[in-house]
Structure formats: C-alpha cells, structure tokens
Symmetry: C2
Subunit: 210 residues, 2 copies
C-alpha cells in the first residue's frame, strides 16, 4: 500500500496560526518513572491546531458541532489539485481548467506546502472561488494552510462552503503528494460539542491509475 500521511505532527514547537503563543499545544507529564510505575501525559491543544476538520459551528451561530463530522463521508475518493502556480487567493479562473465535478472532494496543493514557518501571505481560497465550488456542489475541500481563507471580513469562504454542506479540512501537508486521485481517509477525533476536531488524514493510491 502506497500511503501518504498528510497530517501535521503535533508537538510543542509546531507552527500555529499567526504564531500566537496561546495556540501552541501543551503536553503535561502527569506521571513519570521518577516516582511512579507508569508514564502519562495530558494534552491541551486548540481544536484548530495542526491538521483538523472544521465544523459549521466555527463560523455559523447555531451551526452543527464536531460530532456531525461523519467518518463514512470522510473515507472516500479525493483529488489533489496542482495549484502551486497560484499566489495570493485561489480564484474561479484558477479552478476553471480543473473540470471539477459535483460531489468531488478537492485538496488544494499550493506553494504553502513548502513553508517551514507560518507565512502570513499563505495561499487561500477567495470568496469568488468558494462560490464557484459551492455552485458545482463539491463535497469538501482541504488546503495545505492552517486557514482556508485570510483577510476577508465576515469570513465568506467558510460560510459559503458550510452553507452548501461542504467539509473543510485545514492544515494538510501535501508537498510529497503528486497531484491526482486518491483514496482519502480523514478521521477526526470523536469530539462532541466542538467547532472543529483534530484529525489524522492519510491518502492511499487508487488501484486504477489516473
């Protein structure tokens, strides 16, 4: 099995959104071998830390929470799009040539995948691009940045996608993944009541070449 782990490693020195220190994960050792027979750790982390799946509650008052992120809808085909030529925002024009179909789940591979640190100019999906994808009726989108949008008052990209029922995966690592079609397995923690859930996401090659 050819497997790509497209998840960000979670550790205390990892990249977090806008480098805000309060968003860093914290691992507290609650028991170690100096005084006990077992080693145990408690984790504190933002629901939006590392690779994660947003729930509509993140942006929509009264929106659905993380328990509605359904594994059977997140284990499916997806397509990794080569958008490494885009700088700034992904527009309709950047998507037109991709022959996107209703129901597709798209992962955007951009120049973000080469960023070693948080880049405040990360490539994102514009309101215009989100509206184009919502009109087609995609099942979900994923991006190799910690946000699907930036610097847009009122967060139209998130809202347009959520209102259409699309999933949003943020914090993917796609540098080593050739564009093409894959089997995606994106499993969020079974967290209830949150606006997002940290997730492990892997891609495996399809049996038929693309």
């Amino acid at each position: 099995m050819n497997l790509f782990d497209v998840s960000m490693p979670i550790h205390v020195g990892m990249t977090v959104y806008k480098n805000k220190p309060e968003k860093l994960p914290r691992l507290e050792v609650t028991s170690d071998f100096a005084t006990q027979h077992v080693h145990e750790t408690r984790i504190c982390m933002d629901a939006h830390c590392g690779t994660h799946i947003d729930a509509p509650l993140h942006m929509l008052p009264g929106g659905k929470a993380s328990e509605t992120l359904a594994p059977n809808q997140l284990m499916r085909h997806c397509r990794v799009l080569d958008l490494t030529g885009v700088s700034g925002g992904i527009q309709t024009d950047d998507l037109l040539l991709q022959a996107i179909q209703t129901g597709e789940f798209l992962l955007f591979k951009t120049r973000n995948s080469w960023d070693e640190k948080f880049n405040s100019d990360f490539v994102y999906l514009t309101e215009d691009g989100a509206r184009y994808l919502a009109n087609i009726g995609v099942s979900g989108v994923g991006i190799d940045a910690l946000g699907i949008e930036r610097s847009q008052p009122d967060h139209p990209t998130h809202k347009i996608l959520f209102q259409q029922g699309a999933y949003i995966i943020e914090g993917l690592r796609l540098r080593d993944v050739p564009p093409g079609t894959y089997q995606m397995i994106a499993l969020p923690l079974a967290l209830h009541g949150s606006d997002a859930a940290p997730a492990r996401v892997v891609l495996t090659s399809m049996s038929n070449a693309n």
Copy 2:
C-alpha cells in the same frame, strides 16, 4: 460500505478510568459569537482518554513514544473475538480455541461493551494470556475497556505485549460489532513525545464473508 465506528465519544461527562475527575476532558470555549465572529475551542484531555493507542513509553522507561504509532500498521485486517463469556481475566484457556495465528490483530469483545459506567471489575487480559499471545506473535490487541489489564502489580500484560512489539488499543466500543474479520482503520493523532495518542477507530466489513 458497512462501517462500525468503535470509538468512544469524547465529552465532558464521559467515562474515565476509575472515575478520577482529573482525567475528565475539558473543553474551553476561547471565542464565541457574543463578542467575536468565530467560535473556537481548546481541548484538554489525557492521552489515555477515550479510545486510544498506547505507546511503549507508557510502561517501559526509554520506550518508544507516540510518534512511532504507524498508520500503515494500523490499517489492516483484524479479528473481533467473542469473549463475552469471560468474567475476570482473559486466560490462555479462553484463547486456545480461537486458532490465533502469528501476525493477527485481535480485538476482544467482552461483557465490558455493555457497561454504561466505569466498572472496577472490568474484564482484562491476564499476564498468562498476554504471554500466550506474545509467544504466537500477534501484531496487536484491542479491548473494550479503558485498560488492557487491572490489579496486576508491575503491569506485566502491558510490558509483555510491548516487549514483543504488539500494539495495544484501549477504550473500544464493540457492542454492536458481530465477531469476525474486518478491515480496521485505527488512526491516532499525530502526537509526538507522548505515551499514548487518542485515536479514531473504525471497522469495515471485508469483501469476503467469514
């Protein structure tokens, strides 16, 4: 696709080991719509909360940490054993009739799966049973309790399994899963440096009946 989600929901009122309040997960809302445009949550939880995969560091000084829990070894066939007739500890005698093979990954379905609250008499794997499985050379074991062992000084069950290189999954929910062979997908968070990682675990039916 016939999919069984065998993960425990993670929420503030969930069952934790020995009902210790300090082991309860905590969800802190760090931003909501009363004052902000986004809803954000920070999670604090034990690495051994809910469904999780132990790393050798949990019991072995200098043992491997959670970053070594490898997705490609946790996406594989497994067999759900019917051990619902066992009370107390699972012994070699309970396993002899199961025709267990080298390399198998076994999930123990016991009467624990019907417990609504923490049961201090939960069914566990004895030292004797662990030694039997290690000698066969199983790849891993999973159980429908928050611990694979209990009331054994020095934790021999964990240590025997870890020393043999077997994975240990705890906190499964198997009540609705008929015994038999499945495709297991057990994806831990990509957590580095911890003695365990919370995981989402699903089972899908095999294309060939068993």
